[in-house]
Symmetry: C2
Subunit: 348 residues, 2 copies
């Protein structure tokens, strides 16, 4: 948002709303190029999501909410009497832009509920709801930042994985928000960021974002994390979550489980940072989570290899870390230490 | 060698000798392009090594030996009386091509010793020594292959790291040689190869080499190895070594230590395969091994990042795995189970 209400925001903003529409920072072009594109239709925002110009579950939900505002604006201009029917097409298109994103469905449900209450020109009313979704996400990030930074007190080096920062959220970050808060308090000296193959979100996005905010960051190969922990340079690993089971098992970007095992071996503590909306109470444990696999060509093609009868690739999108390897789950509603089904119940 | 004496060789040969000179497979172009270049001078071979067209300690030593033959050929043609002085320049140039490669110095010392015994046309005599170095390396690989395959009996899936195959050696491989032998015996179903960032030797070289030899191979991101182990798909991890201390601690490509910790956690066994020349009896333990760091630009530049006061990269070339995490060290002279200073003494 160009008029972001929070002075604590990152200097990096994935999404900016203006009278022209939604400005989206093209994350596919980062860090080579900082390119904002303006989308002024719901279909355009849906395309920005499906093409991965915007990524990160919270950021996707926020973008979709603004997309609904744009749909209502065009629909209402065409016919004030029928726009509530027309907007359903826009919502469907936005819902289909990334089929597995929980935040996306949650944001669209909230916008649909607001639509049902709307009378007259819907734009100011729906824009207020979209802004609220955006600001609530930011406020939740800030609350998690404070809670997580309390735990990080005394840590000089912190390791993180993937990108969970301003780029992935409403402008602050989940795991990277905790790191941001700890840095602002002083004491923390350096963030160590894994490359996060095969999409390299750590190298392309996290290190770039930290550089923009002048937070000292060191990039390393994923496979060097164990050797880094052995050196004593990091006291905590701080990561986000795609889904948290009711017993505290955590599904997150592939490589998180590896860091969890390595952290336990080296006495490095592991913090998972995610809003309560990430906790799936219907999933009893990580054993019930099916891990999606992406196209093996993502690994093979950069090396000019084709999948065939002899050669292939295994490309799981995320992995599941058992609660026993997690020291703390930080949400906006509170911290769960040594998570278990019993301890997690405090969040319900 | 075009006339390779061993029918068991890989279909991939990094080095082939002919009357024209030394044909070197340009490993920088793999797997996009299979490009052999012929070098007919010692300086040319030195350049092929320093530019990393040929890599892998054993392959470098063999290439240098053939380089000495080429130097002697040109020197003897220019002046049969003075070639033994002229060849010293060639040997010096070859020795400087990769300053830390132990096998390189060992091969050059062996060639220099042969030169001192040479009378008349040196080419046939020195070529015989170079061929012997090449064939001895192959024979040692084959011996390790047999010993290692005995240990792998019953393993359906094997994980490997970096490239330790025909490309890195005289035509068979150390760790990948063990995997090759196990595959030929039957029973082993699939090799899992890590990408091996930041140079991607696993993705670029190992998977390509296994594909050439029709050995089923699956590529995975380095950070996915833990999740693979958790799945039960691999029973052994098999890796090479750059240097082995007298107590069995192993310095090898960055990421090996990570795999060792993860293997121990998952009950996956770890095998290190290297010729006895890799054991450095003067190094008491891994604590005495200084880990070289490469230029941080190797990690930053692909992401258009520049090292500065805020952002940097940590790029260790190798790491050190304590002997306690190693189940077996396989050399051509025998196997050391549960390595320790006492157990290693059986190799002396």
């Amino acid at each position: 948002m160009s008029d972001h209400p929070f002075s604590t925001a990152s200097s990096v903003q994935a999404l900016k709303w203006s009278d022209r529409g939604l400005d989206v920072l093209d994350q596919r072009a980062l860090p080579g190029e900082v390119l904002y594109q303006t989308f002024d239709t719901a279909a355009g925002v849906a395309e920005a999501i499906s093409s991965m110009r915007v990524r990160g579950a919270p950021a996707i939900g926020i973008a979709a909410a603004y997309g609904v505002v744009l749909g209502a604006k065009h629909g209402f201009a065409r016919g004030p009497a029928v726009w509530k029917q027309a907007i359903e097409d826009d919502i469907r298109r936005l819902a289909e832009s990334r089929p597995t994103a929980v935040n996306l469905f949650w944001a669209l449900a909230r916008m649909r509920e607001a639509i049902s209450r709307t009378e007259g020109d819907p734009v100011p009313q729906l824009l207020a709801v979209a802004r609220k979704i955006h600001e609530d996400d930011f406020a939740a990030n800030l609350a998690m930042g404070e809670l997580g930074a309390n735990l990080l007190a005394g840590a000089q080096g912190v390791l993180t994985h993937c990108n969970t920062g301003a780029l992935a959220t409403g402008g602050y970050g989940t795991a990277l928000g905790v790191i941001r808060s700890a840095w602002r308090r002083g004491g923390m000296e350096r963030v160590y960021a894994t490359e996060t193959r095969p999409w390299s979100q750590g190298a392309r996005l996290t290190v770039w974002e930290l550089n923009q905010d002048k937070i000292p960051a060191t990039l390393l190969a994923d496979s060097a994390a164990a050797w880094l922990m052995k050196s004593g340079a990091v006291q905590w690993a701080v990561v986000g979550a795609d889904r948290i089971a009711a017993n505290g098992d955590v599904a997150n970007k592939i490589g998180t489980y590896s860091l969890a095992v390595l952290a336990k071996h080296h006495g490095v503590k592991l913090m998972v940072v995610a809003p309560t909306s990430t906790v799936d109470w219907a999933t009893a444990s990580g054993a019930d989570i099916v891990v999606e696999e992406r196209d093996q060509r993502e690994l093979l093609h950069p090396c000019f290899l084709e999948a065939g009868s002899v050669v292939g690739a295994w490309n799981p999108v995320f992995d599941v870390t058992p609660a026993a390897l997690v020291d703390a789950i930080v949400t906006e509603a509170g911290v769960v230490l040594n998570p278990s089904a019993e301890a997690m119940a405090s969040l319900r």
